[in-house]
Symmetry: C2
Subunit: 215 residues, 2 copies
């Protein structure tokens, strides 16, 4: 039975890794769609989000099924419950990519982001994509060192987010209210995405080490 | 054993109801702090959020403990897993009240909300508080009719949220970029709070009826 259980766990973990890959790709493409006003790409990100939602449902059903069949306790039970939480985080990160793509579509053929902020959003997209890729590796390799390193990427995201806010408030922001609202929301989506990644990393750290990472 | 299990479930449910009450109260007080620039009240909401976070941890430990001891299957297992998700939703709703209170504190002694939008935010606070109270009742009474009714409150919140956005964009918005950003974020916090409430209601509906509510 233990072997069957560990096979189940391995399947669950590889699905989580696959979800992370899809979400990372969604975030990368949503950013490209946003910055290049690519309507077709935005539509793709929007419709592909269904696949991420579906994977979460399948994964959660599988996890509940394993719980019911294998009756795990202690660490094994905690691992399964943590998987449920990680799949919820990943699904939400997919939603945030979806929100970004929807905003790109809403402003098409215009670009929601003014030229001077495009480099910052490009960087936010790069950081988001990288942080989600790292999360996939952290899950795959139970890598608690990598989990801690994610904080640095999150700091980079916070810095970019602050840069957006100060740029809008430096007294020389010539853009419309609509654009101000868009940038505020977009900034929040990227920032929340990184927060969820950090939250997953902390869960992995806890599973590996049996204690919370100290900040 | 079954009786012990149902006692455990009842304890878990009553803790969820208690969490909902705390979150509802936090949202009510955060709104008052925001609209009356009440620094002391804002500080209270901020520090009281620790209690909500703590409750989530205690509740999750309890739920895992019940899973390990009672080895539930089928519906009982699903109920426990759903409790974990509801506690995560409630904790996040508490965070959103906390964000509102922090914004109130950041702008003190000024008010983050301009006079003409205060009635709308007052209404958003009322809807948020009501929706969370209803969620508590839905959990307490396994009330799937009440769960569906929550959608109406959510529609009301969406309407108020749209009103904020159109007011800012009607061409006569005389306020600073800072205020535009604040209103955009505040609107999002209230809207997300209602989303989480709807998500809890859907979970209860599923538990009671064994199927998802149709929109």
């Amino acid at each position: 039975m233990r072997n069957a259980f560990h096979d189940d766990l391995a399947t669950i973990e590889s699905t989580l890794v696959e979800m992370a890959q899809l979400v990372s790709r969604a975030m990368e493409r949503a950013t490209t769609a946003l910055l290049t006003s690519d309507l077709k790409l935005a539509e793709e990100v929007i419709s592909d989000d269904d696949r991420i939602d579906e994977m979460q449902h399948e994964l959660d059903d599988k996890t509940l099924n394993v719980m019911a069949r294998q009756q795990p306790v202690a660490r094994d039970l905690r691992t399964l419950v943590t998987s449920l939480r990680m799949s919820a985080d990943l699904e939400r990160m997919g939603d945030l990519a979806h929100h970004i793509a929807k905003l790109a579509r809403m402003r098409y053929p215009n670009c929601a982001v003014p030229e001077e902020l495009r480099p910052a959003f490009k960087d936010m997209g790069v950081v988001a994509t990288r942080i989600i890729e790292k999360v996939g590796k952290v899950i795959d390799q139970h890598d608690s060192v990598g989990a801690i390193e994610l904080d640095q990427d999150d700091d980079e995201m916070d810095k970019l987010h602050r840069y957006l806010l100060t740029t809008m408030q430096n007294g020389e922001w010539p853009h419309s209210i609509e654009m101000t609202i868009d940038i505020t929301l977009l900034g929040r989506y990227y920032e929340r995405c990184a927060d969820h990644a950090v939250s997953i990393a902390k869960r992995v750290y806890f599973l590996v080490n049996g204690e919370y990472a100290t900040d």
